[in-house]
Symmetry: C2
Subunit: 340 residues, 2 copies
């Protein structure tokens, strides 16, 4: 591989001149610049990333830490990752994807070794053990997901509380008075997934205000357990006319369940989910849903992160906690309840 020394020799200039001609960081005569660019072109010169990182203290790489817990719903994760990698690339950064189980160790490794200029964390737990490490790291960090303590980091998440209220209000307005809410499995909550109870508690509160009965239960993340659970719920609450689903696996399993029971949606049962458009399209889900916008959240986190990475001034700004307003995408799976 050609080095900057090769380019300089080929162009008949010093290495520093070659470097400046390529970077444009100081004025260079047209003639010399032309020769340097031609030499670089001819030798297919590409700067060595390690050498540049060492000299500039910038790697142009962002770390992306994702946790894949046993028994969690992996497919939805892909959209968050793509939101991050694609936005990073647009801004001139590559992405180091770290998926190992020990997130604390992983985070320490990539920050201490200076492999990355900044870090995005996915799957934030309420009391996430990675956060103290990230706060202490020299690189800035951004979270997709709301932890208990947001200090020292930029945080981006869907407004799950508003999502819960929107779901309840929508069905209440249509005339529903008894609803079921299926959340993620209990172990997701135990692990610290605050979004589960943020949505649930807000939905319960709003239901109380509106005089709506809301049965809120934990779900399952896999078949056949999730199918059994849905059947059990529909058996247990025969008067319920609306179903809220804050659980991708349950949403994916629901069509089979309703077909098997001969339930028509929305005539017999109104349904509102919470997932991404991508997810809905891929898995044939015909339900109106709160768009979870994983790509947008990933993109927002990266943009803010890169701002802090690249600007001293930005790094001094106060940290932000930004909630994306939930948007209800209507696919016609809700209607007024049938008179009984």
């Amino acid at each position: 591989m050609a080095t900057i020394g090769d380019v300089a020799r080929e162009a008949g200039v010093s290495r520093s001149t070659a470097s400046y001609a390529l970077s444009g960081k100081r004025p260079i005569s047209d003639e010399v610049r032309r020769r340097v660019l031609a030499a670089a072109e001819a030798l297919a010169y590409t700067p060595n990333a390690g050498a540049r990182a060492l000299a500039t203290a910038q790697t142009k790489v962002l770390g992306l830490l994702a946790q894949f817990h046993e028994d969690e719903f992996a497919p939805a994760m892909m959209q968050y990752i793509l939101g991050v990698t694609n936005t990073a690339r647009d801004l001139g950064y590559d992405t180091l994807l770290v998926t190992e189980a020990d997130g604390v160790r992983a985070l320490r490794r990539v920050t201490d070794s200076r492999m990355v200029d900044g870090v995005v964390l996915l799957n934030i737990a309420q009391d996430d053990a990675r956060l103290p490490i990230l706060r202490a790291a020299p690189q800035p960090g951004a979270l997709v997901g709301l932890p208990g303590d947001c200090s020292g980091l930029d945080v981006f998440d869907l407004d799950f509380e508003e999502a819960g209220r929107v779901m309840v209000d929508h069905l209440h307005r249509l005339g529903h008075r008894e609803l079921i809410l299926v959340s993620q499995p209990e172990h997701v909550v135990e692990r610290g997934g605050a979004y589960v109870w943020r949505l649930r508690d807000a939905a319960l509160e709003r239901a109380r205000q509106r005089g709506v009965t809301l049965h809120a239960v934990y779900g399952e993340s896999r078949q056949p357990a999730v199918g059994r659970l849905l059947n059990g719920l529909l058996d247990a609450y025969p008067a319920a006319t609306g179903l809220l689903v804050n659980n991708e696996a349950a949403a994916a399993a629901l069509p089979s369940v309703t077909y098997a029971r001969g339930l028509r949606v929305p005539e017999d049962l109104s349904v509102i989910g919470r997932y991404s458009a991508e997810f809905a399209a891929t898995f044939s889900l015909p339900y109106s849903h709160i768009e979870s916008a994983p790509d947008r959240l990933g993109a927002m986190a990266v943009r803010q992160l890169v701002r802090r990475v690249e600007s001293e001034a930005a790094r001094a700004e106060p940290f932000v906690v930004r909630f994306l307003s939930p948007e209800l995408v209507s696919l016609g799976s809700t209607a007024p309840p049938l008179p009984r």
Copy 2:
């Protein structure tokens, strides 16, 4: 951050001694080693990755290039990616995930700049434009997926031809004489996805040998098109008693279709899919299927890649093309056809 110079000073030795004590690459007296390790510990010393890469010409990072084409089935990709990242980490490597649309450009960037020690390519096309770049690169490369020309690279893929034969044989043995095969959409084939016709052609050939009628059609990758397609097929071939599904989206949409038509599986229709166990569990798919083993394929590719990266001798070995034998996971979705 502490440098090796800080550690050396703290331990009262030279930088080279500190380096050797840490790496163990030459004998060091117990006393000195103890002091160095203590100093490194006390200063929380972690080597600077860029500096090490520059000195050793090894980054301990692998590149993973994935292509996400418009209208393709993204969720299945996650398992391949996890297979790669987790195996890489086990072997001491981090993973740079590159997802930009222009794969040629991306590959050139990461190899020319020496950001990675080796590269794994996903979504291999029959005539993949990235392959010439990878062959010419100084780093070794491994493919998950079979291209037209395997020269100069290690290749790993499911044996899709054998998969087609296993599917046909299994149903033939049960007494089926008319089958439908739903493949990926035509544009996946046009883009170069050879595995589609590898499975199909082998299935057609085997069906011919066995005297089985096989209707092979392209599928769709999204709803509602895929649901319509499945209904259309079942209408068009009412005498078919078995369905082979080499298309994740079609498999995911099938339960709704069979329920809606009042078809029982396997009594009225035997079904065999081709996807991963992870996929089956997540999406409630009750069908016997050929396990596509994305995690195993990713792991195989990484192991071979790292062998070549780390050993001169391994780099001189002939390139391999390794096919994973398809395994039929029986979930009871096939049975002898009902007498008509």
